[in-house]
Assembly symmetry: C2
Homo-oligomer: 319 residues x 2
């Protein structure tokens, strides 16, 4: 069974991937600071290679394989960004990446994956179908399954966002992350609290995919039967490994409506002039709707990805 990585594993991940990923910038907005009465620092993983923080976990996992393991390739099932990141990391090592994705994956994300050399296999949009197809590929090729979040190397890689952010802005009190499967928030919590045990870690999820909040309330993992949100990177259900971190290290989880997600995307464009994907807008929306309270604090906000389909911006329908 997978466990969350320790602080040392995250530091090791940082050294391992340092030549392979970008050091992403931190942006600020005078207007959002004023509105929330806080100092916000937006860590722009939307500007990461392959357009999302997922490059960190993927490179750490791929670069951790032995030459013999690596030679047989890697496989994953992913809503998109992890698949693209894994393809990029695999290509950099000259090995194949097999990616199983639901056929409902947005075209922009499918293109992004193919562009980095993924051997894409579309399947029915159920977790069972994805897992089954991935297992078939493992059996046929001997490739190593790199789970998008329930994987210690992946979580360790994701934790490097927080190490980097806290180097760029050392005196934060709070870090806010979106929660999908929980890999990012797990790595973030271990990394940030490893540097400062008092760091408050806050999570945010769409109301239509609020398994982390439900699970915290119930005390056991409680999946949402049919998760649904524009934030297609946050539909996955947390795993035992990530739930353990979310239960013990995360101070609060806020939720947001679909309209709030769209408004937050738009607001980030207006104030910061970056286009983020809906999943990235969820923490911003949770700050703006007051479900996460940060007045008077110094707050890092991890903007996780920027793989938006410019032809289908969510406000076009209503424009």
């Amino acid at each position: 069974m997978t466990s969350a990585p320790g602080f040392d594993a995250i530091q090791a991940a940082r050294r391992r991937i340092s030549g392979s990923v970008r050091r992403t910038p931190v942006l600020v907005s005078e207007a959002l600071d004023e509105e929330l009465g806080a100092a916000l620092y937006f860590k722009c993983e939307n500007l990461q290679r392959a357009g999302a923080f997922k490059a960190r976990g993927a490179f750490n996992a791929v670069l951790s394989l032995s030459p013999q393991q690596a030679s047989r390739g890697v496989v994953t099932h992913s809503s998109g960004n992890h698949g693209a990141a894994l393809a990029l990391a695999a290509r950099s090592r000259g090995i194949p990446a097999y990616v199983v994705a639901p056929r409902t994956t947005p075209q922009s994300k499918q293109q992004n994956m193919r562009r980095y050399g993924a051997q894409l296999q579309l399947c029915e949009p159920t977790l069972a179908a994805r897992q089954e197809r991935a297992e078939q590929i493992v059996a046929a090729t001997g490739a190593t399954l790199i789970h998008p979040y329930d994987n210690a190397e992946v979580m360790a890689g994701q934790g490097t966002v927080a190490l980097e952010l806290l180097e760029q802005v050392p005196d934060l009190n709070v870090i806010v992350c979106p929660i999908g499967g929980g890999g990012l928030i797990s790595g973030t919590a271990v990394a940030a609290q490893g540097l400062d045990a008092r760091m408050a870690i806050l999570g945010a999820e769409p109301a239509g995919a609020d398994d982390a909040l439900r699970s915290r309330t119930a005390g056991v993992i409680t999946a949402v039967a049919q998760p649904s949100s524009l934030a297609d990177g946050l539909l996955a259900t947390i795993a035992p490994s990530t739930f353990e971190v979310i239960r013990t290290r995360v101070a609060a989880v806020g939720t947001v409506t679909e309209a709030q997600i769209v408004a937050a995307m738009r607001r980030v464009w207006d104030e910061l002039r970056i286009l983020i994907e809906p999943s990235s807008a969820v923490p911003v929306a949770a700050l703006l709707n007051g479900s996460l309270e940060v007045a008077g604090r110094r707050v890092g906000v991890i903007l996780t990805g920027g793989n938006v389909d410019l032809q289908r911006l969510p406000w076009d329908a209503t424009a």
Copy 2:
């Protein structure tokens, strides 16, 4: 008559505006570096306050006014970004900003100006109409005219981009700028060559507004009768003050077609995940079309603005 600022004036501008403008990030693209055989460093002034480098010149000009001058406000005629920046700077000092803009100014730029409190006055899209209206406002209010580029404080402010870039990436050989009226490239050349006399400064303009190239060839300022380009920030004609710098300090000027501008915008989105306005894409297009040659060099590329109308992206028409 206006003269270009000296290096000291640019250093003074940097101190004067340091609390008012953002230190913008520098991004890199592995794929573009490989394609051009160079190391490119994109200075993201599209992420500057009010969405463009113009905030630097505007704040420097407004903060240089005496209290008595300032109390009567400021006025300008601008294709958009300077107007928004001047309004922002004026608001921060609590003084009025009158902005004369052609009625053809894109809606997104008009909104941007109004949002920062500009008192917007639309006029016919000719330079004569703009200047006349601005002079009427000066006569009526006593406001100070802050010309968008033919102004020493504005040029000095624009030169702070290069000071900051060379602090972030000290060992550049080349800096590439777009040329509209020439304020940015003038400030950039004085700043960068003040730090390193061997720095090559390259300019880029749309083929439909290539007055800088024509003027260099002719040896005298040679306006384009009806400048035309998607790059609406680059339609202005260079002034004697900026031509002097462009003639003596700029190594080469490249030109680009409209299709190359659109392709460069798209390419920057694909590789860097930032949306830049057409004017910003012009230097990138000039590198990609080979009209500026930088193989083997370390190249700073100033991305000047990000005030794109998301509802009217230039590739939508052909999508």
